[in-house]
Symmetry: C2
Subunit: 233 residues, 2 copies
């Protein structure tokens, strides 16, 4: 049965953070928390009477810093991160096909979806796909840094994400237009970058985006590879 996550938003970087919790247990998982919102996020857990057991990252972000390390310290949760993202201090280095268990039989499946970064993972839980920056609502993440690859993103989306049940709800890592959620089926049919487009077309389109370098990348990536904690901490 599909259960929606609790969706939180950072207006500065337009980043979504998700809290997942199922029936029969107060255990919860958080995905992609943002540094300056650690207190807001802890308060949500407290208000809802939830115990945080895992902090998940979809990748090492270039546009904002995670609060994973801080939340881990304050709650005793474990950090679970994609194995290919260089996030060394995390307890769990996730690989494609891994399953994260929490609560009363809740299961999160780990799906390796490289392209935005080489290590990027998507997480599948109860009919929901948390796609990070691999697949966005009517868009996708850029592929021009952090070992990004348009070829790899095309494969991740067309072969892996678009093969999920069509009604799967798709919760992106960012949105810049006030949108919250989509479905795999809608994106497969309508996504302006990826629906009904050949690999060649897609790679050409991505190579011509000419996006500016993210302002925070030189700070954010090393910080995120240390779970947002000061180096040496």
């Amino acid at each position: 049965m599909n259960l929606n996550p609790i969706q939180l938003f950072d207006t500065e970087s337009s980043t979504f953070t998700y809290i997942l919790t199922g029936p029969g247990s107060n255990q919860a998982v958080i995905i992609d928390p943002v540094d300056h919102h650690w207190e807001r996020d802890l308060r949500h857990l407290e208000r809802l009477g939830l115990q945080l057991v895992y902090v998940l990252e979809t990748h090492a972000h270039a546009d904002h810093v995670t609060s994973a390390g801080k939340l881990r310290e304050l709650t005793g949760a474990q950090a679970a991160v994609p194995s290919g993202c260089g996030i060394a201090p995390a307890e769990l280095q996730l690989n494609d096909g891994d399953v994260i268990r929490f609560g009363d039989g809740e299961e999160i499946k780990v799906l390796h979806t490289p392209g935005h970064t080489a290590g990027s993972m998507s997480y599948i839980w109860r009919g929901n796909a948390f796609t990070g920056d691999t697949l966005l609502i009517d868009g996708c993440g850029r592929t021009d840094f952090q070992s990004g690859s348009s070829d790899a993103l095309y494969d991740s989306v067309s072969a892996k994400l678009f093969s999920l049940p069509q009604e799967t709800r798709m919760w992106p890592g960012h949105d810049y237009k006030g949108q919250a959620v989509s479905t795999i089926g809608w994106e497969k049919r309508h996504n302006v970058r990826l629906a009904n487009r050949s690999r060649e077309d897609f790679c050409k389109l991505m190579s011509e985006l000419n996006l500016p370098k993210p302002k925070l990348i030189d700070v954010a990536v090393p910080a995120n590879q240390n779970l947002g904690l000061p180096h040496g901490a």
Copy 2:
């Protein structure tokens, strides 16, 4: 079993709009949609393959205009509104204790919670309370216009909302601090305006707020009493 709603946000008025949908049916209900987001909201319904059957209003808002009339026209949904709010063109005039049924056995209970406005309603669905501007996260709506009453709000919250199961998730009509959800139990214990406060204290506090008149009130209330449609339409 608790099912979270889909929560959408209007950054201009900090208003939350909610989409409710249950298993076994594609029927959906929307609560408090905002005028300029009608297209965004329709697209969410389309992406998720949902059929809108009811547009609910918690009250006649003073700070933004509803898209209820527009959504009704475009989807064939019925408008369901509090009977005491002067929203004449709605199909359903709701009273305390009414039940709105949709989907495969989904039930929304109507709870009259006056105080912010005389007609204000809260809606209870699957362990969630949609409290409009009656109860906010760590706050409450103002009571100084539209037949508002601090006495009535005190009763609505302390006698009605705080009597719901303590784990009930509380989804407010607005939030100004990036918060998304709370619980009845947390608000009963910690809400800065209402937890452990006497009626006299609460009414004194509310009478001393000296808030400015909402900029849009003279336009928004008459517009909302016509479901956001031009008068004469």
